[in-house]
Structure formats: structure tokens, C-alpha cells
């Protein structure tokens, strides 16, 4: 198999292209500039793909909205402050039930923050982000190869549910290089199912309307119930997670993305010292793998949530397990990258505190 050493942002770009993405619009911001850079080069060599460096984040997300209305697989990307700017558009896209893929390579915040890796946008990503009570599917890869599979999956999910899908990485995921392999590209014109709702010229058929403005509250309530039904279906079938060394574990670290990689290093280390510790890694952050985590807490009574923020996913963990397990938290905000030995220290502390293992 042909392995290529690529940085995460380039991997996302190539995976998107192979998934049939034919429209990209974005506005530069570190630490994700390698992604638009890649798309510009990649699309320049293709006859059926368009790259636009937009004049702003707002313009970019609205261009993606338009491309999606026309039936094309479309993507934009940014980093935290830029994603905030896109939220209005994302809410509209959710309201209009349009597929779109949005990549957030997070940085330290709040405000303009810094360019170091962080997971400080968990709340924003998993609670919709903009106004109006919508949801977005959120996928959090933790390796180059998973960026391939999840980016491609993001386009399928966006189309299947006609909803915006976020790929949530951070500066480390975007910059780190790992060897990856790619599946063969799909030909979107030949392989993807026809979309019977797109605005592609009404000649010969009834006109269609795609809008998020629904003035009559009765109609708007119906629309909201329709979205709720869709979100319920997503929750039932689209949770994803990884279990690592959990079978005999007395304590599980819960972490996603980059934090999960660091935690895995820590788990390997404390295992060498004989501690029975494993890792539960949510891959879909929304829908959150609530049932799976709850089931886990019937046997594993101590959870340590580690995030590169001051405690966001920990709330979902607590909602999931209730009183069934203790939930402790360790977090580093602002773009600090913890080392495995720091996390190993936290794990050891808890093993002593609960006098377990």
C-alpha cells in the first residue's frame, strides 16, 4: 500500500477531494492554512472543482451554502475565531437542511486567542454553535488515518441527513505528520445518489424553495419537530467511540482527539507499572456515545476526563454516567500540550485516592 507522510490539514484536503468534494471556500487563519493551501493546488488541477479564497469567513460559509443548494459536495474550514464568524451561516445551513462539511482546527481562546492546539470549542461544536437550537454532527479524529476516514464519512453523513457536519481537530492534529493511505477517489457524478431537492433550474419541473425563513409559528413548529426527529435518528445510529484496554480496567480515562493520543501514551505507561487503566475515546462528540459510556460505568467505577480546556466534555460524561461512577477532571487550557507523564501522574493519584487496582 502506498503510504504518504502528510500533515493533518493536507490529509483532510485530500480525503475531501476523494470523497467528491468539488467546492471549497475559506479565509486564511493559522493553524489551518495548510488546508486551503492544499485545496487551492489540488482543485487547480481539476476541471470540475472550484476553490475560492473568500473575502471573509462569512462570505466563505455562505458560498458553501450556495454550492450545497446547487447539489455539490462543499466544504469550508477555519480555526476557532473564524468558526465563530461562520456560525450564522451554519445555523442557516442547518435550518435549510443542507449538507456541508465544516472543519475547525481549534486554537487557544477565548477571543483571538493564540495559535496553539486546544479543545476549547467543544461546547460550541456540540451544542450547535449558532442560534436556533439546531445540532451539528461532530467528528473528532485523533490520527492522520482517522482524518481520512472521518473526513470522507463527514460528507456521507452530511448528505444522508442533510445536515452540517463538523470535523473537529486542533493545531496539533492539523500540523502533525503521519503516514496515511487513501482509498480510491469516488466520481461524484457517477456514484453519488441524485439529490431531489437541489436548486438546479426548474425548467420542466415545479419550482423548489430552500429557505430558513418560516414565518408561521405552526409551520415553524413542524419544521423544528422534523429536525428533532432527524437528530433523534442521528443519536440512535451515528455514535462512534474507541475502547482501549478497558476489559480489566478499574479506571478509564475519557478523552478525545489529541488529548486521547496523549492519554493513550499515559495508559500504556501506567499499564507497564501494573495499573489496570484503559481509555474510552468518543469519536463522535455529537451524538455523544452516552449509552456506551453508561454501560461502561456499570463495571468501571472511576473515570478521569482529560481535555485541553477547563472542562467541557466532562459535562456530557457526567450526564452519561450519573452516579454510577466517580468523574474526575484534568484539563489544560490555552494551548498547553500535556505530556503523557503528566496524565500518568493524574491517573496514579486517582488510583491511590480511590485505593483501587
Amino acid at each position: 500500500m502506498d503510504r504518504r507522510l502528510m500533515c493533518g490539514s493536507h490529509v483532510i484536503g485530500e480525503a475531501a477531494t476523494r470523497a467528491g468534494c468539488r467546492f471549497y471556500a475559506g479565509y486564511p487563519i493559522t493553524p489551518q492554512n495548510e488546508l486551503p493551501e492544499y485545496m487551492s493546488k489540488r482543485f487547480a488541477k481539476m476541471d470540475d472543482a472550484i476553490f475560492i479564497q473568500a473575502e471573509s469567513e462569512l462570505a466563505a460559509i455562505n458560498m458553501v451554502m450556495g454550492a450545497s443548494m446547487a447539489g455539490v459536495r462543499a466544504m469550508t474550514s477555519s480555526s476557532s475565531p473564524g468558526i465563530s464568524l461562520k456560525q450564522e451561516g451554519i445555523s442557516y445551513i442547518a435550518g435549510m437542511e443542507l449538507p456541508a462539511v465544516i472543519v475547525n482546527i481549534m486554537r487557544g481562546g477565548p477571543g483571538l486567542g493564540n495559535i496553539a492546539p486546544s479543545q476549547q470549542d467543544y461546547f460550541q461544536a456540540t451544542r450547535g454553535g449558532g442560534h436556533g437550537g439546531y445540532r451539528t454532527i461532530v467528528l473528532a479524529p485523533c490520527s492522520g488515518q482517522e482524518m481520512v476516514t472521518l473526513t470522507m464519512k463527514a460528507f456521507d453523513l452530511a448528505d444522508a441527513y442533510r445536515t452540517p457536519v463538523l470535523v473537529l481537530g486542533d493545531g496539533l492534529m492539523g500540523q502533525m505528520m503521519e503516514p496515511v493511505t487513501f482509498p480510491d477517489p469516488i466520481d461524484p457524478a457517477a456514484t453519488l445518489p441524485q439529490k431531489d431537492w437541489v436548486l438546479d433550474g426548474a425548467g420542466g419541473r415545479d419550482s423548489r424553495l430552500i429557505a430558513s425563513l418560516i414565518l408561521d409559528p405552526i409551520d415553524m413548529e413542524q419544521h423544528n419537530w422534523k429536525l428533532a426527529g432527524k437528530y433523534k435518528a442521528i443519536c440512535e445510529s451515528e455514535t462512534r467511540h474507541e475502547s482501549y484496554l478497558l476489559d480489566d480496567a478499574v479506571l478509564a480515562v475519557v478523552a478525545f482527539g489529541t488529548a486521547a493520543r496523549i492519554a493513550k501514551g499515559a495508559v500504556n505507561r501506567v499499564r507497564k507499572a501494573g495499573l489496570k487503566v484503559g481509555l474510552f475515546r468518543p469519536i463522535s462528540l455529537w451524538p455523544f456515545p452516552e449509552k456506551e459510556l453508561k454501560a461502561l460505568s456499570s463495571t468501571i467505577k472511576h473515570l478521569l476526563v482529560f481535555e485541553m480546556n477547563l472542562g467541557q466534555m466532562v459535562e456530557d460524561v457526567k450526564i452519561s454516567v450519573g452516579e454510577q461512577a466517580t468523574v474526575d477532571f484534568h484539563g489544560r487550557p490555552g494551548g498547553i500540550i500535556s505530556t503523557p507523564h503528566e496524565i500518568a501522574g493524574e491517573i496514579t493519584k486517582l488510583i491511590y485516592r480511590y485505593d483501587t487496582g
Binding site: L5, P31, I115, L172, Q175, M177, K264, A266, T339, H341
Partner: protein, 179 residues
């Protein structure tokens, strides 16, 4: 050793990230698991740059190094920053032409190489990083020298055969110095 972490550090412009990239690419060619993690602050030529490369026989859990096995330090500030964190028994590779201090620790092995002088003898001080990677590979055996030369050739393919010859010579000279 199944998993090995190396930090490369120096001034921006010394080819520190290229060294890491060469090691990671070579590891991949040797069918190892690799990660290459660059520091990416608001870097400028003359500022500091570093990267962490993991080479492993098994899948790599964390790309971040708690305590690197090896540190390749191209200037004095790099030694100040990374000496403390090196694993006991680890090896530090110093560019003795530019590093003015001596490591204080006694539990690490120090390999001092006059990198700039060797590079100048080869014909261009800009191949200093190639001299260092040659010495590093010779001493650590992390990947094969053959893979390194192959990787360097492919990375700098567009630069032509003259550059390739100089790079190869620089790698060989660095390797020979520590043999």
C-alpha cells in the same frame, strides 16, 4: 528499543524541521510507525524551531515526548531548553561549532560534532543539517542510512543532482565523523 522519541531543535533556518522530516520519511520507508510533530509558533528565520519525531515498531500512542531518548541540538538556546527533559541514558547530539555551553547532566551521553565546519568542508554550510542527520543515524541506527539518502533525494527532487550529491556527501561525512 521499540519506541524512540527524538527532539530536533535549533535556529529557524538551520533546517531543523527538515531533519525531523527526513527521519520520519526514512522511518516510513523502513516500514516503521512514525509521527512528525513540528513546533509552529509565529516562527521567523533566526527564531527557535523544534520538532518531535517518534519512530516505533508498534502503533504510536502519543506523538508528544515526555522524555525524549535523543535530542539533536543545533544551538545554545536549544541545550538550555531541552537538557533537563532528556531521558536518563539518552543521547544528546550537539553542534559544537555553535553550542557554547556543556551539558550539566552526567546521566546522558554527549556526542559533539563540529557540524558547521564539516558542512563548510563539504562545500556549503547550508548542508549542516545533512551532516547532523548523517551522524545521528550512524550513532542511533534508528533507520538505515540508505533510506535516509533515498528520502533526502526524494524530498529535494526538484533541486537537481548537484544538490543531491552535496547532501549525500554531507550525510556520509557526518556519519563518518561518529563511526
Amino acid at each position: 528499543m521499540t519506541i524512540t522519541k527524538t527532539i530536533f531543535s535549533g535556529f529557524g533556518g538551520q533546517g531543523v524541521l527538515v531533519m525531523g522530516y527526513v527521519l520520519a520519511t526514512s522511518g516510513m520507508h523502513d516500514d516503521k510507525h512514525v509521527t512528525f510533530l513540528p513546533s509552529y509558533g509565529a516562527e521567523v528565520r533566526g527564531g527557535t524551531a523544534n520538532c518531535t519525531v517518534t519512530v516505533s515498531d508498534e502503533p504510536i500512542a502519543s506523538p508528544v515526548a515526555s522524555f525524549p531518548d535523543f535530542a539533536v541540538l543545533m544551538n545554545t538556546p536549544s541545550l538550555v531548553k531541552f537538557e533537563e527533559g532528556i531521558k536518563a541514558g539518552g543521547i544528546v547530539f550537539l553542534n559544537s561549532d555553535l553550542v557554547e555551553l556543556k551539558p550539566k547532566r552526567r546521566d546522558i551521553q554527549v556526542v559533539s560534532i563540529p557540524i558547521n565546519s564539516i558542512a563548510e568542508r563539504v562545500g556549503n554550510v547550508r548542508s549542516a543539517n545533512m551532516v547532523m542527520i548523517g551522524a545521528f543515524i550512524q550513532k542511533t541506527g534508528l533507520v538505515s542510512l540508505k533510506s535516509v539518502i533515498r528520502s533526502v533525494k526524494s524530498i529535494f527532487e526538484t533541486k537537481g543532482s548537484k544538490v543531491h550529491k552535496m547532501n549525500t556527501l554531507a550525510i556520509e561525512q557526518g556519519s563518518a565523523f561518529v563511526k
